[in-house]
Subunit: 400 residues, 4 copies
């Protein structure tokens, strides 16, 4: 099999050297990320069930989760969730295998509940969440395509990836990870719904953070604004490790503090979905964890898609992996790599319609020196694409 | 007010001259587009009600619609819808004005039904669709921000636009418009769910079309495959008007025709949502009608967002408008313009955090000759951003 | 087959001669009746589909409908429905016949919409109602029992009937029919949600009527109270035709008119479900159209049950039919007849566990004169029980 | 206040002496009882919240619960729940008190989950149940009536009660209690969904028991049928303690055992709702725990109604209490007492439209001897009607 692989040199300024860069990350507790997280947890659970009972992963795509925000009345010292968040699971699964019926709804509801319990400790999953499942049977044609075991693409779609991350991108990614990770011990009042927006203009990086605060840890508005000051400093200290550029940090810019009026971003559970913010799969971070309007992106929702044949999942992750591997292997010559892989419904997944690589070199580099290596690397990674499947099932590959 | 406007020259190959281009358009009957269309129809209906009763558009964001596919049994000559499609409306609206309560659910359900009836004539809206609304009251803070009338951005977000469209993009866009427009008279069996994927590799454009066929117009598999041949020729004839490059057309590539087995892409209603395909707002076309992984894109769902202050809607449309206007006014010197506009929650919408323009010129052009004109154009369009509002309400601006 | 038929004489005062009698009828627009009406319409539609496609009625029981009231803001001259009523269809149907799938959800949703459109003309079915269907597949065992064609009882259950109706009962029944029938031309402002309670104490019958008024026909509170006076007189004029006893009529007794305060029972659609009143199948009228706590009653919900084998439906209707036929055939000797028919799951429906008749005679009558006739009549009616089936399908037998 | 109390002697044969009697009890795990149990648990939880926060029980009626059965595949040794049961909570609650909002949905969902966990140990509440709440705000008028504290009837309704229980009734009631109580230790395979039908014909009582068996405790069909034999004997041994009449016991009469075919009544959770059986409030047992078509009954659903003013709840329970107290205090002279209490909307709950007592004496008893005592007893119980309220809240009064 001769794969259609295109390796092209681009003569242009790499993204980090352009005047403006915008990068966003929605944290794990953002409603869109909650939807993504549930969708992927549901897919993992189904996959495990299928493997256990039938020896292989059967067709499913649970990449449709709608989070309909509830209502809450946060207040300093501890408020109330007034109306539960409603979560609708949809998508398709293999619901019957021969004469066996698969308890797919029970599996998926359980997976969703477990995911929420595990990740969001201020959420009372028994009282504050209603979960409904309208997951149905897959359309027959798709199921047949899938069942041939030839691992054919089940959609005409594409994946997009790039490497390396710019300073701004690295900073945005790690700011959220810091806030939802290490910082929690020191500042438990910082909730899970965190949105980080990095906006670099020339040599200044503006880091705008929206962080839902958990009301029960904060006694009053004064304490709230003190906490914000402390948080701002910690975010800044963390951020400057990723750059030499000037960093300006803004926290919860919609807060009001004037004329004796003080309104902060307070929540009961640390999640804005408790009070009217909706979310759905595929509207948040791309598979590299970021939203990057100054870079090429795919619109595909990866979370919840089946990890065996859905190119919307596989090709996006593989594109990023290939881009990173090229940077790693080809070394310092490379300023930026963009990878796109395009499927066509019915083609084997390891033989895409095209795998297209665009390379921007640092200074004067002879493209021909790298072109063949890159070609071979892409060829190899495509040949091993199915190695990704079990990594998804085991939760080793983040998809948002 | 001195707006922060950045106009930067990029020295790089314009997109249409790169080796590979991928462009996709989901037609009006694709489940993601159905979700977008309903979301926007719902916003328009609410806006009109608010204007009629309160003189201005009140806060709402109905950019959350989940389409859960039904089940069907299409067959040559006419099949059956077996299970209705379920459509969940969510998002927020202003539900109370002083002591008045707004019949927001009735308005929104009616708007959704009317939209479906108007656009998809093979769909029996009474029998084959169930609509539920979980639209709720907006979170109080957002409502307050909105109600100040200062027209402040209600989110930290950004818009992205570019111009001009490449040949491939123009061809993809117009192929779908042709199939869902003029062609319908000649070939009524071509349904509404059409997906067009354009993949240009150097000087060859591959146009892959997936078009749901309406079963009642087709007597048997032979006729189906004859129709496909006819359709292929018509698509090709139409496509070559947009390019001198070689065009290859593929129709319904997942069809099977071998060994006496013949499986086509047949539907009862011309929409794949009838049989298991789900959709949701914001996962399909960007506001320019395309998905363009070789271009910068925003992840924002525009459809359903309020047309007064939601920068996710306004800035995306305005970015494209600015890009097009620059190309129109600055003439042939310009090969490609990229525009991004970044908000920060709480800032006036006509004073974004930054409006960034990147220009690629054709050949050797003196950037300084255009830079100021462009700056002024951007400044002017931002000053008049609110002119867009009523155009959205009247349905004059497409958002997907 | 020797049927187990018990015919017993009771020496007791017939119900109409006891000191107190209470009789209630929920009109066609009462939420419980709306649920009943939809359930039965759904069963009729399914039955017709099964007959048309498979030559006989297949298993189904759609006797579960939950009407969740909406919200409204009625006002004199015409108000608004604020939130749609939500209607959940559940129950079971035969969803697959061999390899055919039955479009049961589409059929049932359509039947529900059509029923509402046909009966309640102030209801905007497109805007003010949301219908969901969770009708599922029947449990396998019941389906098998049913499919044997032996017409075996699918439940251990019983039916109850009596005759003749007392004056109070006749009056209550006909008052509602009058208000929801003939009167509508003269007084269109009288809505569909009417509840009539007859309470006889010795020789006085208190007739308490709650009637939702349609706001758009009434200009102000004065007109409302005038209409009530007019209505009271018309109800009285109608009622006295059924009795020589004293009749006192009360209309909308929860209204307030004092100290300049005037609160009437106003609705937009003539139905209280528009504003918070819920309903469900089987909680309203028995199959004779009445609720009669001074008589024996069955708890079975007849509406929506399958008309072929469900004894909860067949036996209740047959018991009343038998009671009426006995009164008709045995003549003036009989003061009161009570009939109960008891099934046992698995027995043929025409051979119940017992059919028990209790007779109260007028004065001194020789029981033995009638006993055998009655026995034979019961035997005959049981033998012809299946004649009822098509009468249900054609809507000729009211079930609530 | 002179209450309207009617005490009437009836000259008729007491129910236990009539030829035929039919009595039914749906056990705690029957879908209708599950609905009742949840509805009442929800009311108790709301009541407690209101008392804790506002010092008194506020308006609510949560007497609408729809249980939509799931699907399961039981098998000897342990099967699977295939689709979760869906439970819809509806009804009304006080959702706002001054500026406070009440977390009524969270309270009610939690109450429902807790109830299920507590009573049905084979049910995996996280995986096998989906709960949705559409509980809304009460209609304004009713809320006002309620809020006056005058404790006025919120409906025109009535309660019905009688005493003493016949042997058949006592036996049916205690058979279910035995099967769902004491027996569980000895025979854990007997599930919660138990339906007991007692049918007495002259001196023979037929006791038909349908009891869902829990599959994991039973290895095969042989063991199943052995267990049935054992169970039959235990039921009989228990039943004969309540009567000297002949008792015949039938267990799971729909089972099949012939020609090598053996079909038993097997479930995974001991509840038939797991596989297609639906339930709703008010369609099962009356407040005395029985369905008695040979006695007068009320159609009112008591479970879930507010325990302060809802006469549908209070009057049914009080009628039974009064009947029992009359039997207790007036001694052996009394063969049967029937009590009905009728409200009229707007009247104080302790002053019903009428309280009607009908007494059947044993042999020749002078009615005048008892009439006044009974009158006084009724008067006293009505005067203390509000004592019931807290007993409901504390769960001391069964309502189904």
């Amino acid at each position: 099999m001769e794969r259609n692989i295109s390796v092209e040199e681009l003569h242009q300024i790499p993204t980090p050297k352009k005047e403006v860069e915008i990068v966003e990350r929605k944290g794990i507790g953002h409603p869109d990320s909650v939807a993504d997280g549930i969708a992927e947890a549901v897919s993992r659970s189904l996959s495990k069930y299928y493997i256990e009972h039938y020896g292989r992963i059967l067709h499913h795509n649970t990449d449709q989760v709608e989070v309909v925000g509830g209502q809450s009345a946060p207040k300093y010292g501890g408020g109330l969730v007034l109306e539960p968040t409603y979560i609708l699971l949809s998508g398709r699964a293999t619901t019957k295998v021969g004469n066996d019926r698969v308890p797919f709804k029970s599996i998926t509801i359980k997976a969703a509940r477990d995911y929420l319990r595990e990740h969001f400790r201020h959420l009372d999953v028994d009282a504050d969440v209603m979960i409904d499942s309208r997951i149905g049977q897959g359309s027959v044609d798709l199921v047949e395509v899938y069942d041939t075991k030839k691992l054919e693409a089940n959609d005409t779609s594409f994946g997009v990836g790039f490497a390396p991350l710019s300073e701004t991108e690295t900073m945005v990614l790690n700011t959220e990870k810091y806030l939802n990770g290490e910082l929690k011990k020191k500042m438990p009042m910082v909730g899970y719904d965190i949105k980080v927006m990095g906006f670099r203009q020339k040599d200044t990086i503006n880091l705008t953070v929206a962080a839902a605060m958990v009301d029960k840890y904060i006694h009053d508005a004064d304490e709230y604004f003190n906490i914000k000051d402390e948080l701002k400093q910690l975010v800044l200290d963390n951020a400057v490790e990723y750059t030499d550029k000037e960093v300006k940090v803004y926290i919860n810019t919609a807060d009001i503090k004037e004329d004796g009026k003080a309104v902060g971003y307070l929540t009961v559970t640390g999640m804005s979905m408790e009070n009217g913010d909706d979310g759905s799969v595929g509207r948040g971070n791309r598979v590299n964890g970021l939203i990057t309007p100054y870079r090429a992106m795919s619109m595909e929702a990866a979370a919840g898609k089946n990890p065996v044949t859905h190119v919307g999942k596989l090709y996006n992750v593989l594109s990023n992996k290939i881009a990173n591997d090229i940077v790693k292997e080809e070394g310092n010559d490379i300023a930026e790599v963009l990878v796109r892989i395009v499927s066509q419904i019915g083609r084997p997944i390891d033989d895409p319609h095209v795998a297209s690589v665009q390379v921007i070199y640092e200074g004067n580099v002879d493209h021909s020196k790298h072109k063949n290596n890159i070609r071979n690397l892409v060829d190899d990674r495509l040949a091993h694409i199915s190695d990704l499947t079990m990594e998804f099932v085991e939760g080793k590959i983040p998809v948002f």
